[in-house]
Subunit: 338 residues, 4 copies
């Protein structure tokens, strides 16, 4: 069975599964003191930044939360959009584990703008000690609406961060899709970032994300935070082996390019139908659309996709294990309904 529901419904890519099988021989030191982990970290450093500090964790929420925790003191705050995953879908983990406040503003096609950052900053900072001290900007690449920040947009955000003495965090759970869409190396996409939540699970792993400190000063003591933060997997080789495979021969980027292409194809086909409206540009492996009300049930039965809670908006996510034929079949079904 295949779906357009979520990259979390998807299977583990065969090369990742093979890496797990291959890693399963004999005893190796626990907690990351093994060769596979060291190799995986080195390969990620070579791909993103030689000076980066890399730590593996279990979930995207964990990566985001610990990235924030490492960066901030309790009285500091995060600037993000009102659609950010950390704001909407992490059950208050940043507030609970970091104790910090999230300062939100309306998104523009899923994105933060320098103007919005400056406005939120000023509205908080003008209160002095009676309010928090804004210290971290968090953006998602790709965004929660499947759009991407272009390199010049990232540069502009970095500039306002520098101006206001703010750190910059990127939730990169679908970073590979952005890189594939923009056709720029991962290194280029993260060069302005202080700390990155590097995706794994949505990219085809069984489980595993990484916290990558491009700004290595923020990583001080993180070995303790990894354990305290409930993320020190004792048999770490099985997380590392997956990342090693994902970064070998650009597997992550290839899978993302494949998924992006399918999503663009599906979005293109769907928006030609009367009554279908795309909400944002289809720039990654995920897009949102309004469909004719009468189509929804039939199409979901054919190939399942989400209707966003409390709305009539359909979300389509194309995973690494979806094929063009699945898209074609779905479009054919829609044609029958049209």
């Amino acid at each position: 069975m295949i779906s357009f529901a979520s990259d979390n419904y998807a299977s583990v890519h065969p090369k990742i599964m093979q890496a797990l099988v291959d890693a399963n021989h004999g005893h190796v030191p626990a907690y990351g003191n093994d060769e596979i982990t060291q190799k995986a970290i080195k390969l990620i450093q070579q791909t993103l930044s030689e000076k980066a500090k890399v730590w593996f964790v279990g979930t995207g929420t964990a990566a985001n939360t610990l990235a924030i925790k490492a960066s901030l003191r309790s009285y500091q705050s995060v600037i993000c959009t009102d659609s950010a995953h950390i704001q909407c879908n992490e059950t208050g983990a940043p507030e609970q584990w970091c104790g910090v406040k999230l300062l939100t503003c309306p998104h523009e096609q899923g994105k933060l703008t320098p103007e919005a950052i400056r406005k939120v900053y000023n509205a908080e900072a003008c209160w002095g000690q009676h309010a928090t001290k804004p210290r971290l900007v968090s953006i998602s690449q790709t965004t929660e609406f499947g759009t991407v920040y272009y390199p010049e947009e990232l540069s502009a955000i970095r500039a306002v961060c520098d101006e206001l003495d703010l750190l910059l965090h990127m939730d990169g759970c679908r970073l590979y899709n952005a890189a594939a869409e923009l056709n720029v190396p991962l290194e280029e996409l993260v060069k302005d970032i202080d700390v990155l939540s590097l995706g794994g699970t949505k990219a085809g792993l069984m489980f595993g994300e990484a916290v990558v400190f491009l700004n290595p000063e923020l990583a001080q003591g993180f070995e303790h935070l990894q354990k305290q933060g409930l993320q020190l997997f004792s048999k770490m080789r099985y997380v590392s082996a997956q990342f090693l495979a994902l970064f070998t021969d650009n597997l992550g980027l290839d899978l993302a390019a494949h998924s992006n292409q399918l999503a663009t194809s599906l979005a293109d086909s769907l928006q030609r139908f009367d009554g279908v409206e795309l909400l944002y540009p289809a720039e990654s492996n995920m897009f949102f659309a309004r469909l004719p009300q009468l189509w929804v049930e039939t199409l979901q039965a054919h190939t399942y996709f989400y209707i966003m809670p409390g709305s009539d908006i359909a979300r389509f996510v194309l995973s690494h294990d979806v094929q063009q034929s699945h898209v074609d079949d779905f479009v054919e079904k829609a044609k029958q309904l049209g």
Copy 2:
């Protein structure tokens, strides 16, 4: 010197100061195990609700934070306006100490409405385990813009709380002003409330607020929270003596009525001038206005008032120790400018 800046600029009312002097004889048990504390608690219970549990704390932020902490588990959340004191001016204390998320919505003249509560609730609850569980509504009486909730508005909010299984918290740092304005007993104003932050300092005390559990089940273990929450004053009699005086012969209500009357008088006079615009109805001892730009400096020099940070809006707060003559002089000065 007198000002219209803040009830926190004001002095301690002479009757309160006398109560402190009177309490200052010999040794009494510490931590609230003294007769004055027991008397003060009993008088507050008689005034608000016989079954209430009453605890004294140091600051308004402490009262709000511990009221929330006692009411919620870490995965639950608070619904409030985007102008709530807990959201804007407590340096993230609820997030830091309680770990909970604040879910905000635009205020209407400083107030929450049942519709807004329902909307915020649904937008969060529809995500199930991926979002927090809304559990507490927090309102301010009087509001941060000096308006008051009318009894029928409170009833309507209670109804939606009951419908959605939500608790109701009131930030009552200026509760006396609301009661004086509405001419209803305090008891009436808090009958629908589960937990109340009962003001003291702004009402004329030197320091001291109270957390009052109208819903006594929420108070379980609060004696530990009071100490853990940094609020167990060892020489408690000096907090209690102030509250005892404030509730004796309705001193708090009388002072509030006096302040309200002055504020109404000042607002009435000011809004008659060309170029003066009141932002919200003047319903308590505080109101907000736009003044002709050229007046501000001169009038502030005459009797100081705030310009809200990052805005051109003037805030006037009339305290218990302001007299009608101060208002008259100020209006006279404005006349000279007009």
Copy 3:
């Protein structure tokens, strides 16, 4: 390569790996809303208690921390030994995530006694609001020193918990080893427990532990805590499939029996040598011994084992993938040294 260092050095058992491979077909709902997860939960319930609530998490520290967080309010505290994993080796996670205090006492062969619980309880509770409220007893089965609580010891601890209104938590990261040693069903071992950290990784999984609420009232809202607690694996089927395999045909117990037998064999052989001293009875797959100083380096080079930090005590852990021949070879090597 094989070692006696840690069950975290060990590989994933072939049946577990096969279960992962078998689960890797097509799309299934994320976050545990899949059939494998439902089957795994049902099988664990059938094995431990029909009324249990079961949640999968990533690490043992996560299981312990979230079990505590679900059970306690901030002002409550945990009674455990000074050798408990939650006290010594979780980087302060319980304090950081739950905010609670751990009240410790010296262990007796790794164990808590009813007398020690009562003593710690009284020393804290006598301070009333000036100290925390003891509310949870935490024990490890098997203990951090490889000993086991006998059923009558568990009953006696339960009795003192009932007497003092305390909840009972069991850190069961090696629960299977205790059951195998005692030759009692798992159900019997946890019948007096309110909340259990059920081991997985040390038992032969790749990763994954479970929080099992035998007292289902404590599980209220845990679906939110699982996500907020950074433990909601999106591709949950791959955690569940491992547990399903571990509980099918008692695989976990069989592997534990094998490991226990090897450990007993090794301990028996070693303690016959002059200069070798066992610190505690060898009752599981782990035991501690003092060895002749001159042996250590040579024996570690032969088959690696830990010397406990800051001590001269050797720890031997026998994993599911160790064979009798490894033990025999090691003993033979020791003979040569002797």
Copy 4:
């Protein structure tokens, strides 16, 4: 009525009360932006250290907790004795508000020793990322048993802190008593300290303590922590006025000398009786003794003192408002019993 129960039973010293009355004129800026606060801070700086940063808070638990919070990251820990106030009598506030672990060791006459610090440090640090990072030593001057650290003991503790890269905190709720006993200036007593909880209430104030950063780098952002930490008193002048009076003409030291002298006198007299045993040297205004069982009730009825919870140990605390005649009467009563 007078007691030997606690310096928290005591009244406010007349000079302090007068300072409060004197401060009660007209409006002044809130939140510490007033002249009295600036004068008080300056006087404390002149007395303790010109470069110190000084912040007023409400309670001793607040001072200790915020001093720790300002100094540590979540994965760091505190070394203190098992009798420290932060460990025993603050209801777990450091764990709850700072999330940090307290590492304790047995006290020696209430004190930490360099050897104990080193031992605790090594036992934790040897575990690397699996345990917390010890970062702060906390000592109480005077200790919880009424003894004092001598200057050479403080120097030795500072040396081990420097060696192990540890910060040094002093809980100085009775600092004046130590200075009076040792006959050294306050400045001398705190010269090796990074952050000090400076007592007020026990010294004769109505309420109020201070967090004093002798190491000003630790104070960064503390203006936010003061508010977030529930300690920003809006009418701050009434806290500051008390400290201004306490530090004017060495009032605090004079009152401490008086109390110490009475305590020494009482201890000397009592220990001459058969069956009375002093537990520790009487070096401040507080001492502990075992009394003949039959005396306790009669003597408590004469002048109340504490029996420590769960023990037969009497605690005597002599406050600023106790006179020699009270001591003489009490000794006379004891004579009658003897």
